[in-house]
């Protein structure tokens, strides 16, 4: 069983979100873009503690190791996120609000 080299394993990478590009630029005043980060990479089977697996994720990864056809591998996903403050227009009013789960702080295998 060949493990992908370290750089290909589940990790956090830069990811620029551009509100103009997705058509939200007309109502979001600030920021127009920001680094949201994202999770990328493979989850090994079995998955180690460094990937913050839940008990379920650990068992799924064991099962994937022994009976690969029965389940998918666990998936590299955010396990810790941060909010983003946004200035935007809503029904003619300018609002400043804190939107949760907008920035990835940590990735894991779930």
């Amino acid at each position: 069983h060949h493990l992908p080299d370290r750089s290909q394993l589940c990790r956090r990478v830069k990811f620029q979100v551009d509100f103009n590009l997705i058509g939200w630029g007309s109502w979001i005043i600030y920021p127009k873009q920001y680094n949201a980060y994202r999770c990328e990479g493979e989850c090994p089977n079995p998955v180690g503690e460094e990937f913050h697996p839940t008990n379920h994720a650990y068992i799924q990864s064991l099962l994937k190791r022994y009976q690969p056809h029965r389940v998918p591998s666990t998936c590299c996903a955010p396990v810790k996120t941060k909010p983003l403050s946004m200035l935007y227009v809503d029904n003619g009013r300018v609002l400043l609000e804190h939107h949760k789960d907008m920035i990835v702080e940590e990735c894991g295998c779930l």
Binding site: L21, A36, N55, H56, L63, C75, H99, L110
Partner: protein, 120 residues
């Protein structure tokens, strides 16, 4: 423990799949006395638009996942795919087992059963 609710939604979208795991299958049968297995379930399915946008029948999704799906639709980047279909809500099970000193222990294991999946 009740069974997870059946998650409806378009075919192929992110949702809970039924999966019974025997402890023998993962090599834990030598130290787990009871139960012999449990309904663990797993998550599978796509997290593409429009399902990711918390529509009726769609899976719950992080704000980050929604933005990721929108960016992917607007400007696909090599390597940056759709968000992941992963457990959103999990339940515990009780396990009776032999510990390292061969004592019989009853323990509550958190996050063992998938009740609901979402896009993250």
């Amino acid at each position: 423990h009740t069974e997870p609710r059946v998650e409806v939604g378009p075919v192929g979208t992110c949702r809970t799949r039924r999966l019974h795991v025997s402890f023998r299958e993962v090599g834990w049968h030598r130290w787990v006395i009871a139960p012999r297995g449990f309904l663990a379930n797993f998550c599978q399915g796509t997290c593409a638009l429009p399902e990711t946008l918390r529509g009726p029948g769609g899976p719950p999704a992080l704000n980050h996942a929604v933005l990721r799906a929108l960016m992917h639709a607007a400007a696909p980047t090599p390597g940056a795919g759709s968000p992941c279909c992963v457990p959103e809500r999990l339940s515990p099970i009780s396990v009776l087992f032999f510990d390292n000193s061969d004592n019989v222990v009853l323990r509550h294991y958190e996050d063992m059963v998938v009740d609901e999946c979402g896009c993250r």
